[in-house]
């Protein structure tokens, strides 16, 4: 076959190239040692094991523009083993894009060259440092390259062997082979040693090979310190057109570092002052002779299209009837489709829940812009963040809100990646009913509110849900929309306007006894409670909080001031960190307010939604009773 023939026909790089690639690798080691000695912390031995891999990637294999790191057509590199970043920074010094002075600011106050890579650096697309996430991000970028950009750029991801224990990696492995992402090359730096002991597989490269092959990857085992082996492996990777390629590189931690090579006990430690000169001297010897040639990275083909993702709007306004009942998750699907009609860069990802989240509507109209991620939430989230990098798409990621907890570390890291990825979690709260607590999201608001720079919207009807989807498509940072399984009544006019950071005062009149703040299913309960209370001549102000973060403190304070400072929050969420907590935090430094918090206290169980709302005291009856108790 072609593959075998190409293998035979392969021409190895000439001796000068080999010599220079080795020189670059050892200079990467020297620079990694110098920078970590300067910062007095960092991971020089982890940098050292991958020096040849980086040298070959950056000076032989990858096609990119040294001075335009974010160029859309350039090959991408993700350093999943983020702690090895001194080597990556050193490689960019070798290209000339970065100065040695910049490198020496490693880990210092004010420097963008942090302990682990973040997109504050122009050549970093996605943050790494929580191990086992890089390949999730990389396959998202590769999917964009192959299917959306339809461009020739490829995505390289360097992983440590320790992080191969993370399940998220295997989610990405399955995803990449299923979608035939032959533009993806993963390199495993098998340096045998973890932080506190050897990895479970040590130098057993065959086991890594069997695992990667079983997950559908073209797999090649190489000596990771042989630049010629590496060159050939990357060549073979290019020839494989139906699968991604995994290069299993056997390496030594602390390679070429006198007294540290392949030895335990040097993880995450700058070289000691006592041994620094000796180690550097040995490395200097290795790079003393130049071949006389200067390797220059190859340029990419400029074939990635220009993209416009600004000012995204619904193709038509909401079109519902007040009082009509429907689940907000249905409006999620409708809104996605409406955005997709106006923008060809809206992407929807779902984890085999599309008939519950209504992402299926998007798949139906735009099958090429929907990505089924199966039951693998970590990879779904990582891939979504990857797809959203470099502003190449507006990405929506959906599943039951409860299962977004599965990807919380990926979401946390998404904030470090400065992602604009949007999340939709359906089936929140006890109001889902009989499926029971495993399916009920009751900590999702706490989870997403605690992400810096996040936006958390909780629409209570289908009109506001459509607008929420439109809003987050245009909002930077991580956005989360909370969706309800149960049908809720339409309370807003079709031409109602909504804004991030703005609450909606649904009813308010002079003499209102209490300001009731609700969201989602509890808004309908608050409205019913109002009717109950009217019979006793008690009137209440009702606020649909809508934007849980940022929160509309002014509206809350102004409404609550008119109700004697009395506030009742009611939510289908645990009391900690949710809607009521957001209100409490916002008003903590104000005086004159008294807030009673109705929330789900204790572990819920299977029952009918109405039974649960009553049992956990967040229904109309409980609201009415709480109001009466407050006055």
């Amino acid at each position: 076959n072609n593959y075998a023939e190409e293998n035979d026909r392969y021409h190895a790089p000439d001796n000068s190239t080999i010599h220079e690639l080795n020189n670059i690798a050892n200079r990467i080691r020297i620079k990694s040692i110098l920078s970590t000695c300067e910062s007095k912390s960092g991971h020089p031995t982890s940098a050292s094991s991958c020096a040849e891999i980086l040298s070959v990637l950056f000076f032989k294999e990858m096609k990119y523009k040294v001075d335009v790191p974010r160029d859309p057509s350039s090959d991408r590199f993700v350093m999943s083993k983020g702690h090895g970043c001194p080597a990556l920074y050193a490689a960019w010094v070798e290209t000339g894009h970065m100065s040695m002075e910049q490198l020496m600011t490693l880990r210092k106050f004010g420097s963008v060259y942090e302990g682990h890579p973040t997109p504050k650096i122009d050549f970093i697309d996605v943050a790494t440092g929580s191990l086992g996430q890089g390949l999730n991000l990389a396959v998202g970028m590769a999917y964009t390259g192959k299917y959306f950009d339809k461009a020739s750029y490829r995505v390289f991801c360097l992983m440590g062997d320790g992080e191969m224990a993370e399940g998220a990696v295997w989610e990405a492995m399955a995803f990449a082979s299923y979608y035939k992402l032959n533009n993806t090359v993963a390199i495993i730096d098998v340096n045998r040693l973890g932080q506190s002991e050897p990895t479970s597989l040590g130098h057993d490269t065959d086991s890594y090979k069997r695992r990667a092959e079983a997950f559908g990857w073209n797999t090649i085992v190489v000596d990771g310190h042989s630049v010629s082996d590496l060159c050939k492996a990357f060549h073979l990777a290019k020839l494989c057109t139906d699968r991604p390629t995994c290069i299993v590189a056997k390496t030594m931690k602390g390679k070429n570092m006198l007294g540290q090579e392949n030895l335990h006990g040097f993880h995450g430690k700058a070289v000691a002052a006592a041994s620094k000169d000796e180690i550097l001297a040995e490395l200097e010897k290795l790079v003393s002779q130049s071949s006389g040639i200067k390797l220059v990275p190859a340029k990419p083909i400029d074939d990635a299209p220009a993209v416009n993702i600004s000012n995204i709007t619904l193709s038509s306004p909401p079109n519902y009837t007040k009082g009509q009942k429907a689940a907000t998750r249905q409006a999620y699907g409708v809104a996605l489709v409406k955005l997709g009609r106006n923008c060809d860069r809206i992407y929807s990802l779902d984890g085999d829940m599309k008939n519950s989240t209504f992402a299926q509507d998007y798949k139906k109209e735009f099958p090429d812009r929907f990505i089924e991620c199966f039951i693998a939430e970590q990879n779904m989230v990582g891939a979504a963040i990857g797809m959203a990098t470099r502003d190449r798409g507006v990405v929506f990621c959906s599943t039951f809100a409860a299962f977004l907890a599965r990807a919380y570390d990926h979401i946390r890291m998404g904030a470090v990646s400065q992602t604009n990825c949007n999340f939709f979690g359906s089936h929140c709260g006890i109001s889902i009913g009989a499926d029971g607590p495993s399916q009920m999201a009751l900590e999702d608001i706490a989870m997403f509110r605690a992400i810096p720079g996040s936006t958390v919207l909780y629409p209570s009807d289908i009109v506001s849900m459509e607008r929420a989807v439109e809003l987050v498509a245009n909002t930077k940072g991580i956005c989360f929309i909370r969706g309800t399984r149960a049908a809720t009544p339409v309370v807003f006019d079709n031409d109602a306007t909504f804004a991030v950071g703005r609450a909606n005062v649904l009813q308010q009149k002079k003499g209102d006894a209490v300001t009731v703040i609700a969201g989602g299913v509890t808004l309908g309960e608050a409205l019913k409670a109002s009717t109950l209370l009217e019979a006793e001549n008690i009137s209440i102000t009702i606020i649909d909080l809508f934007s849980l973060k940022p929160i509309d403190k002014d509206t809350i304070m102004s409404a609550a001031s008119a109700t004697g400072g009395r506030i009742l929050t009611v939510e289908d969420h645990y009391p900690e960190g949710g809607l009521g907590s957001a209100v409490a935090e916002a008003l903590a430094d104000e005086t004159g307010f008294k807030q009673v918090q109705l929330a789900v206290r204790g572990m819920p169980y299977s029952a009918e939604p109405a039974e649960l709302l009553a049992a956990f005291k967040i229904d109309a009856t409980a609201i009415a009773a709480a109001v009466k108790k407050m006055i």
Copy 2:
């Protein structure tokens, strides 16, 4: 070899047994249909695909006591595909332990037979329903059986094929082969169909086999509807002494359900009234003939030891000097060892961070009671919950607090499992310094506080850390202890006492201007601020909050009332859901208090700890400035 010989020598069950196993399987189907029709929801087709697997397990393979489901020596069963539970409940009806009347309460208010299994049922050890977690739990139970109980019981885990996409499963696969858990049998119910579309591998059982084998498992592919094939496969599993066994069972979703077998579109739906009678009639035909024999489950060997895990105490009290500086994480290791000396059922699990979390101290003294879980936090947490079931051990799980986010869904489900597992998260907050945001836990308090019934402790010095570890060992529910990387001064006497739900008032005097509430590294800053303020004749009350959940509302209110209602909270955590938020929630329904919240606002970065505390305004200077602004 023995294996091949035994294979040859295997005697198949007699025809009557085969006949009855088939009858039981079809009766399981009938009962699953009846119960889900009654509840009008549930997953009868998912139940149907695994009916033979359950029939063979419960009436041929497993050794257990029908009337003592929690018997310590009995084989264990984990239904990872929790949505298939109507079949499991039906199997228990078949054993006679459960009645048909009980089964017909499925999913109803007040019934323990919920939509997904929980330990409210006496034959359920661990909750499932968030897919891809069962094997994590099972390998923890199997580890306990093999290495701690040294008993003959085995652990069976039934997984769906859809959930094989979850990375957590592959973490468990790697763990089980690494630790040679030959007492573990995983069965994959490969019924081809997910919720919203076919799974990525469909009926490709060979791919599952290759993956399981590559991860080190003895793997057998069978027709999952052939009870004789299943019997033989389980027999072979028993003969494999060096590895766990995975049985890849090719099945049909909706097997034997007229008009639904192997067809998409019937996931999670009770049989429609129109087709119910016809489907049941077909099934009744299949079970019309009895062989005349009655299959009875085999009894186990009573070889699991009795266990006592009550009243666990430190073997010696803390022994430090006031003012001495040390990191609380160091005291975590010390305290674990002290507990281990008094109780042989203390288990420590760590994710290749033991030299940072100081779990290494425990490994050093009790190597047989320490389990290295490598960089696979989901499996570490799941296995820990598995180990803690049925009160067979007191389990501590440690890593960087930031990486516990990786296992948030497992922790969430742990609460549904009613686990008493303890978590220690080191390296919280910006005070870790140069490693940067990927390593900093700044949402961990929000995360753990939102777990129902949880206890969250945040010791500020090494004396209180030792006591915190002792406290959680004796506290039910999920417990989380937050640990600090940086050294903090000893502020408590060695004989100081601590309690869950009790704050420690460190300094308080008449005329104090503000009550400062701190925890961890910010307590030392508060003490320094006090000195700064004294120079300006301002004195402050300082509370070490210690117990973030439950929170000591009385102490806070009483102290704050004496400082004019003025409260300053200061924490190394994001503002949402953390220490300040806990205080705000607690005081929301009180009037007369005004709380200013110092917290980490915005995304942190690499720098020296002191530089970060200053930049994010949670250091002594910021505290002093905030106090002055408040008065």
